[in-house]
């Protein structure tokens, strides 16, 4: 073989590779574009790639910026391109892009829809993703905790008709703590944890494939945690009033309520081991719980008001968004009401409000890996990954 021939062979191989790459690029997955539209990105096809969105976006890195790139990738059905990098999650949906979009293409809403599809693709088992993803699955999802809790209450607790009315309300007599609460909720919690682990592992795998990671994981995670706790990225959102405040209220109320729950759990086990305990309102657990509840309600009120106030300009949001808002609202409202009804000793309603509270908490926990709740881990993962790949602006 002569040198010339070698060169020619190499060139041919390169050309073939190039052609394959191009073919892959222009091979549209039309179904994917349709799915994005169905998932709430119905404005996707209006985009004409002017890049106003990228310029008005304050959270994008300058190199390979978003969201214009994501809009064309979605139109062309380049699903893998969208799912295998951190960008869709670096977007915090400030919606400045949506407000300034000259075509009403609503990049903020489209990226929200893509995020939903992405996390549901990585989450497992996929049947739960499907059920959480559309209104048709709602009844099945609700039936599960209702049946489980009713079963446990009828086996181990007492229905309100059997409880002495007029006396003090003790929810533990209705739903016994150990068997009707701890048992199902601990299982739901660990199930969610395990499924989160699998989903995030899939996502990380898709991102990391063929990429060079640098920097320490621990330092990156630390940095991300600080960013999340201080909500610095939300400072860059120009348009939605008090978005930082409302989201921080939600985050911190969840943290506070988690601590209160932890204390409750410890106290309960102390009780089981023979300690005599009372739960007056001034103990730390109750104080924290009540502060958490107020913060949660306030945060939700701002979120919901903003959604409606800005609906014409930014879109009302998708089913996926509202499912989470409604579930958290139900948790917060029934939780607060259950406490007030107990203090007011209004038994006829109290037990059933408490029951709805239990169902909604179960819903929130067990389905977290498939609902918008999962954004906390996917976004955090994307932020860690972007730090480790030196994605600037991150």
């Amino acid at each position: 073989m002569t040198d010339t021939e070698t060169v020619e062979t190499t060139e041919t191989t390169e050309t073939v590779e190039k052609v394959e790459k191009v073919e892959k690029l222009i091979q549209p997955d039309l179904q994917f574009a349709k799915d994005v539209v169905a998932a709430g990105g119905d404005s996707l096809k209006k985009c004409y790639q002017c890049a106003t969105c990228t310029v008005v976006c304050n959270v994008t890195p300058e190199d390979n910026p978003f969201p214009r790139k994501e809009m064309v990738q979605a139109q062309w059905g380049l699903k893998d391109e969208l799912y295998s990098n951190p960008d869709i999650w670096l977007c915090h949906q400030c919606s400045d892009c949506t407000a300034y979009c000259p075509r009403g293409a609503k990049p903020g809403e489209v990226l929200g829809a893509i995020r939903k599809m992405s996390l549901q693709e990585f989450a497992t088992p996929s049947i739960l993703s499907k059920l959480v993803g559309s209104p048709s699955g709602l009844l099945v999802l609700l039936a599960l905790p209702v049946v489980i809790l009713l079963g446990l209450i009828s086996a181990f607790g007492n229905f309100p008709s059997k409880l002495p009315l007029g006396d003090e309300i003790v929810y533990a007599e209705f739903a016994p703590t150990l068997l009707a609460i701890d048992l199902p909720f601990t299982i739901a919690f660990f199930f969610a944890l395990a499924m989160f682990f699998l989903g995030i592992k899939n996502y990380w795998g898709a991102m990391a494939e063929g990429k060079k990671l640098s920097g320490s994981v621990i330092a990156s995670i630390k940095g991300v945690i600080v960013e999340i706790l201080t909500h610095t990225r939300f400072d860059k959102c120009d348009l939605i009033p008090k978005r930082k405040i409302s989201h921080m209220l939600l985050l911190y109320s969840f943290l506070i309520l988690a601590v209160a729950t932890g204390i409750g759990f410890a106290r309960e086990w102390g009780h089981l081991l023979g300690m005599e305990l009372e739960h007056p309102l001034y103990i730390p657990m109750k104080i924290l719980g009540n502060i958490g509840a107020v913060a949660l309600l306030l945060g939700l009120a701002i979120v919901i008001t903003n959604r409606f106030a800005k609906a014409a300009q930014l879109g009302l949001g998708s089913y996926f968004d509202w499912l989470l808002i409604l579930v958290i609202s139900t948790v917060a409202v029934t939780g607060t009401m259950a406490e007030l009804l107990r203090i007011g000793n209004y038994a006829p309603v109290a037990y059933w409000v408490y029951f709805i509270h239990l169902v909604s908490v179960f819903f929130l926990f067990a389905y977290a890996p498939y609902s918008k709740m999962a954004h906390m881990l996917y976004r955090a993962t994307a932020m860690v990954f972007s730090k480790m790949t030196g994605r600037n602006g991150a």
Binding site: A51, T54, E62, Y100, P102
Partner: protein
């Protein structure tokens, strides 16, 4: 018997053409113009397509046709206040505003010299001022001065009057309403430049050296505020590095939902103004799509091939000014490179779009589209619309359209 007369609303290139074509075919024409001169937007251009000649060449010829034709009666400073009746038998109320200068004006300039007050010069888009008694530009037709009463206190008017030895100034002129009987109507009300200060993403009008494309026309025009020397407004510096920002308001549902059709050609043309004036100048045009319909494509190739002209795909969505130097920084995504960038220029030209004049001043009884254009399909029988009244369009197509509308309006008269 139908009224054997045509009313043309608007005395720009479209309305002038329609009026002349109908008159030269032998019909009586009333021409109503809001400004105190004829020629409309074309009069403000430095050069226009397709021949890139100055407006004098096209307007001069039309003014001559008009002067020679006794069948046209034109009213400046006039607006249509109401249209009643139907095809063949319209009655139109026309409000004629006072000019404060009568037909005895010889254009001697004495009133301007004597006038103590000044006004912002709207003909030059506010880049300079004129006296409150003035002639908008040298070739103005009718060649008659005007007094801007809003910017002329009582003493100012008296000073002008005293200076006029021809008794041409009449400060007691009042607005009057005429009733015109016509058989058919042509609307040719044209366009206004979109107010780019409404566009947040283009700096909201705060950067002094971010001018509009029409200001650029005036800067380049020999009869403009700088005598044709392109210099930036803040300090008169020769701009050597200039950005053109396309779709400044156009193709944007928050501003003008339509494509304004001519702005790409305008920017390419203005790039040549700059390149011809300053050999060492550099131009960068930021676009979504370069739209150069039909044979205009060849002009696009010519400008594109100038190595000092760069075309960058990516809409500018932030403009800031360096207060000390007056330089203007634009922010954009270079779409083909996938990079979000900032670049600083001596001057920025905003390719502002066409807003139909009917958007702000509708003609009573004429239906409009949501954007404010005249809706041709909703026009009453006997009324036709021309040129940029219906949709953004260039001069040559406006003129062709006007000739067609003249024929239509004549058919209305003849049919009955």
């Amino acid at each position: 018997m139908a009224e054997q007369r045509v009313l043309v609303i608007g005395g720009g290139i479209s309305g002038l053409t329609a009026a002349l074509e109908a008159a030269e075919a032998g019909y009586e024409v009333h021409l109503v113009e809001k400004n105190h001169y004829l020629g409309g937007r074309v009069a403000q251009l430095n050069k226009y397509f397709p021949k890139l000649c100055p407006p004098v060449c096209g307007l001069e010829m039309n003014f001559r046709r008009l002067k020679e034709n006794p069948r046209i009666k034109f009213y400046t400073m006039s607006e249509v206040a109401g249209i009643s009746g139907s095809e063949g038998d319209f009655e139109v109320d026309v409000k004629v505003n006072p000019r404060f200068v009568n037909d005895r004006c010889t254009g001697c300039n004495a009133c301007t010299e004597a006038c103590p007050a000044e006004r912002p010069n709207d003909f030059n888009f506010g880049m300079d001022t004129t006296k409150s008694a003035y002639l908008p530009f040298e070739q103005a037709f009718p060649f008659k001065y005007v007094i801007d009463a809003g910017n002329c206190s009582k003493d100012c008017g008296q000073a002008c009057k005293a200076a006029c030895k021809y008794k041409a100034i009449d400060l007691d002129m009042k607005a009057e309403t005429l009733k015109l009987k016509v058989g058919s109507i042509v609307t040719a009300t044209g366009w206004d430049l979109y107010d780019t200060s409404k566009v947040d993403t283009l700096g909201g009008g705060k950067a002094r050296n971010a001018i509009t494309n029409m200001q650029m026309e005036r800067l380049a025009a020999v009869n403009g505020p700088t005598g044709g020397k392109i210099q930036r407004p803040s300090d008169g510096k020769e701009p050597k590095k200039v950005a053109f920002v396309q779709c400044a308001g156009s193709r944007d549902e928050n501003h003008l939902a339509h494509c304004s059709y001519i702005c790409c050609m305008a920017s390419l043309k203005q790039a040549t103004y700059l390149r011809e004036q300053y050999e060492d100048s550099e131009v960068e045009i930021f676009y979504i799509d370069i739209r150069t319909p039909g044979r205009y494509e060849q002009f696009y190739w010519k400008v594109r091939d100038d190595e000092k002209v760069t075309l960058t795909k990516g809409k500018v969505a932030a403009i800031t000014e360096d207060a000390s130097t007056g330089d203007v920084t634009v922010e954009y995504e270079d779409v083909l490179a996938g990079k979000k960038q900032k670049k600083t220029f001596d001057m920025v030209v905003l390719a502002a779009g066409m807003q139909p004049s009917t958007k702000d001043s509708a003609i009573p009884g004429i239906s409009l589209t949501p954007e404010g254009f005249v809706q041709p399909s909703a026009l009453k029988a006997g009324i036709s619309a021309v040129g940029s009244t219906k949709s953004p369009v260039d001069v040559q197509r406006s003129v062709q359209d006007a000739t067609g509308a003249a024929l239509k309006s004549i058919q209305t008269l003849v049919r009955r």
